[in-house]
Symmetry: C2
């Protein structure tokens, strides 16, 4: 009896040290943001981590569906599936199984086995989670996985977003915007989990491929971390705490970057992003770097890290490139400038022109009165009007470049609208002298180069009489002797 | 002739690859913020790094004074001093030498040899820089030193402020607020420096202690980095770039933390820091952590890292501690709460009371009229006044707790001012019933505990008639039958 008492006491003491259920309950609610009223889909490989997570969450009253993917990579895979199925059955839980040909998928998509397994596994889990309307998917990454991840990112030279490692709660994630991916064991080291398994008589399957150091992660686990422990016996908990501190830092910086983005981004599409240079360069350097990385990641979501050299090249372009320079950035992206806008884009010619009037390489006649549609919701309108000499000053000096009055003493029958031609010249209103090359005028008034060749021109015969958005031709201005005018408007639908 | 041409060409080609003077000129101006008009003190050990830096800066026209500290640790130290002296002489530069007993200093201050050498060296350099009015001190840390530093911090589990490594330009620094410490070679790897030495026929002294892996840094250099190179051949440049990215991130976070500090810090002295809890908890978690670390670093500037556990304990205190809880934090600091203030302080009793009236444990009589000084620029004033019954409502309901009117029908001759005594009771104005224990009253109105025992009380005989800053005693209130009053004021000098 006395012996029994001591055993019980020790048992409780060990349980408390090993895996504190109260603590995990707190983590599931607070850090993973789970509730016990809705289903959680749990990914179980059959290893000690996922079997322990399954056992803990079941004991804490979470309604679970157990999901297992047979990777088809090892002979013992079928046995693992049976172990997982049994662990669900004895707890009265639902079980879903899928068999995948990871090796085939890897060959087909030229991925490493690890990458292919990861991709297929998450596709499977999220598909199942959607089917059973789960609130979240729980996976059993541990504190050891976390520090291995941190070290892998460090070896790649990642910034904060890599060094912070994984999150307890990951939402939105690349697989689903609604269903969170949660990692309740992220703060628990493997030693504690193994003790828990033996305390609870769980019988995990040990994946022998973990011992194979040809996998990068396993080399970190079995070679690098043991070496680092000889430098600092507390390295594992140090790296774990480092990741948590950096996660907090990264979140703050992401928030400020999103705020800065709103003030700095002028245009954004899948073809290109325009950033306002004067805004960008007044940001602190750390935010400048993040804005540039964000712009690149919008255009190239696949690039896992926007490397230091790429960001540096953009900063160098801003500082040193000539006005008309085009620089190649990386992965088919190029850099150029339009006025105060820095463009990071696929190709200049493919950029959206929705914010500017453009006309294809055709010639269109406009009757007066007349109305013509241009691409992108732009229109040109022409009307005959009498000249009100009381208001002629206001009309002549009208400050709105999207409307114009031209003299109609010669009774213009028809206007022509077309894009520019080689040899076009223009005599801007107010410049009573020689005409200038239209191409030079476009440069002077900073029409973006990519928009010049298709900018609409209003002509009478061969002569350009109005550049919508800019000026009328000097000889066509209203004078005190004008009695009739053509009123022109450039209109954008909203 | 042809041969000579080829040699010259190759020579230039190698120089360009090895150490680009234009690039270094740019770094000296932009990153190190140096100009060629004022002296720079350069610390030269005689090794390849510092001899190269000396040579480069001299060639680029920087006026230099060469400083060398003989650490007295190795037999060849005297020879090194001669090499450095000669390198200054041939360039016509000033030279200062000091001999130090680093081993003795280390024993005396219980420091490691490395720490002692670092401390004595910087003291020497900054002393000399002040003497010759140098704009800055240049030291020859390289890109290799940078990544070793980053890895050392990682092994310690440091946050961003450690992982970002060293700066090209460090000002203000712990040694001087005016004179910058600059590191022009921070982006140059040692290989390039060795090539430069041989190209320029520099004859550096090789410090054999670099090969001794009993020093932590040398172990990282000679053991850890070679291993990491087998994981990723680009690890050195990756870690270097990581440090630069993290430096930008850290600077942004420091800026936002300083801004948040202004809104969050209520009081600050070398005894304690008070943070406004409601402000603190609305900050993003990364900023909360930094505010707490900043508060601790103000009180304990010596603590190199405020560890994760310390910050976590403060956050836990805010969430979970009972109102009157006192928690030990670390290194003699404790945590407690006063109203909405979180105090991180040496000891409650030692906190400044400058913002509150306090009286030592003495009893003082005040004549009426009378005026008495309290510590910290506080005063109590008493006057006899007639009661103006037209204004009695305003007086009775006066909203300023720093003034009071008490009934003087009984012609009070004298007031007593004293601190509280065990057994004191009080009947607050408006509470027409039983008196309460003064200690309970203090708790109810949230007088900070540390201020209670010396809070000044105005008494008539044994009876407390006014608690300055709070209320008068109900029996001493003015009534419609009052004709005479004593007017009391609590005044704080500005």
């Amino acid at each position: 009896m006395k012996y029994f008492f001591i055993t019980t006491f020790l048992f409780h003491a060990i349980i408390t040290i090993v895996l504190d259920l109260d603590h995990l309950s707190h983590i599931l609610q607070q850090d993973c943001r789970l509730n016990t009223t809705r289903l959680v889909l749990i990914g179980v490989s059959g290893g000690p981590d996922s079997l322990s997570l399954l056992d803990v969450m079941h004991r804490l009253g979470y309604p679970l569906v157990v999901a297992h993917l047979n990777h088809g990579l090892r002979a013992e895979a079928g046995e693992e599936a049976l172990v997982v199925r049994e662990s669900a059955r004895v707890r009265g839980l639902g079980f879903v199984l899928e068999e995948a040909d990871i090796a085939g998928y890897a060959r087909e998509h030229t991925l490493s086995i690890e990458e292919a397994a990861r991709k297929v596994r998450y596709q499977f889990l999220f598909e199942q989670a959607r089917k059973c309307k789960a609130q979240a998917i729980a996976v059993a990454h541990t504190a050891d996985d976390q520090i291995e991840t941190v070290l892998m990112h460090m070896l790649r030279g990642a910034g904060l977003s890599g060094l912070k490692g994984m999150n307890f709660h990951f939402q939105p994630n690349p697989w689903d915007s609604e269903i969170a991916l949660v990692r309740p064991l992220l703060g628990i080291f493997r030693d504690e989990i193994l003790s828990y398994c033996s305390e609870r008589n769980l019988s995990p399957v040990f994946d022998r491929s973990n011992l194979d150091t040809t996998y990068f992660r396993n080399r970190i686990r079995n070679e690098l971390i043991p070496l680092l422990l000889t430098y600092n016996a507390g390295i594992k908990s140090n790296l774990w705490h480092m990741s948590q501190i950096l996660a907090g830092d990264d979140q703050v910086l992401e928030t400020y970057t999103r705020i800065a983005w709103r003030g700095c981004c002028l245009e954004q599409s899948d073809q290109g992003v325009a950033l306002e240079i004067n805004n960008l360069i007044t940001q602190p350097m750390g935010i400048q770097q993040r804005l540039i990385r964000l712009a690149i990641s919008i255009l190239r979501p696949g690039l896992r890290d926007i490397d230091y050299a790429g960001v540096g090249k953009v900063l160098e372009f801003i500082q040193r490139a000539k006005r008309n320079a085009h620089w190649d950035l990386a992965d088919g992206l190029s850099l150029f400038r339009e006025g105060d806008a820095l463009w990071i884009a696929n190709w200049e010619s493919e950029l959206p022109a929705g914010n500017a009037p453009q006309i294809p390489n055709i010639t269109i006649n406009i009757a007066i009165p007349g109305f013509i549609d241009l691409p992108g919701g732009w229109h040109i309108q022409a009307e005959r009007v009498a000249v009100d000499h009381d208001a002629i000053d206001q009309v002549v000096n009208n400050p709105d470049p999207n409307q114009a009055w031209i003299d109609n003493s010669q009774d213009i029958r028809e206007l022509i609208i077309r894009s520019s031609q080689p040899g076009d010249r223009f005599l801007p209103f107010g410049l009573d002298g020689h005409s200038v090359k239209l191409s030079d005028y476009f440069i002077n008034v900073k029409v973006p180069r990519r928009l010049r060749s298709n900018w609409p021109l209003i002509c009478v015969g061969d002569e350009v009489v109005w550049i919508p958005g800019y000026r009328i031709s000097h000889p066509f201005r209203l004078t005190p002797s004008s009695t009739r005018a053509v009123y022109l408007r450039l209109i954008k639908e909203h």
